[in-house]
Amino acid sequence: MTTEQTRTTHFGFQTVDEDAKAGMVHGVFSRVASKYDIMNDLMSMGIHRVWKDAMMDWLAPRPGQRLLDVAGGTGDVAFRFLKRAPGATATVCDMTESMLIEGQKRAEAEDMAERLSWVVGDAMELPFEDNTFDVYTISFGIRNVTRIPDALSEAYRVLRPGGRIMVLEFSQIPNDMLQSLYDAYSFNVIPVMGQIVANDRDSYQYLVESIRKFPNQELFASMIREAGFDHVKYRNLTMGIAALHSGWKI
């Protein structure tokens, strides 16, 4: 950490300075905010809803819990959590203000306003006290973080002892033939959809590349353990196109 040489990271398949990545990711999500929900539906053929429900099934929200949903964008995960847990509260934290504004406009946000708060913040520098939340979720957000280990350490810090982290993210299909079919779909179809629906091919090109760069199930599980979590496990969703990772702060 004492070296002065410039540290680099990935922005999709490009290698960029660490300092530049946050701004570039911010640019992507600022541009796509208003079309984000519809693009998620198109890109995953609606399956992201099934995955988020699977996340809730494993998480089993309980009444009165405090949820922090990081990179929570338009509130999808927080709304699901609150519907299943009476008296629970949720804080949605995202780097991109325009995503939160989109989330606040949704009907669920109005219905559950008194149980929701919205904060612009960085997953690597969370503006919350230690030992605050019962549950930390991040759904399709962690691969956009510049330094993933820093985000995982921050998750550990703000969770209470006995608290749980759950991560939903695109992953790798443990079958080479299926993976190459899926790659063909994602690299050829998704950027074109982005062009048609959101008039923004580059942002969706980035999304596809960033999915391919993200560590596989086992490697990501070991990163969660490195941050201090125990009983780390994962479940594949739709053959491993996505995966859920769960860990506990003991």
């Binding site: 904060v119 960085d122 503006p127 006290e129």
Partner: protein, 66 residues
């Protein structure tokens, strides 16, 4: 600073928000300036804006204090 929020739910929201938030750089408690709609971190010499009820807790968006 004499500006008191008019609606009760707004006041409750503000209180809850204040309780939960700390400075992202120093993790110090924040001072709420209701009139300017800012959350002030004295150790970091930064004032974080609140826009449309959303606290913007990233240093790039904060106002430096003298």
């Amino acid at each position: 600073m004499s500006d008191m929020p008019e609606e009760e739910d707004r006041a409750a929201f503000d209180r809850r928000m204040l309780e939960a938030l700390v400075c992202p750089l120093t993790q110090a408690p924040l001072h709420y300036d209701a009139a300017r709609q800012e959350l002030i971190s004295k150790p970091a010499h930064l004032a974080f804006p609140i826009r449309a009820g959303i606290p913007i807790m990233v240093p790039d968006e904060a106002r430096p204090l003298d």
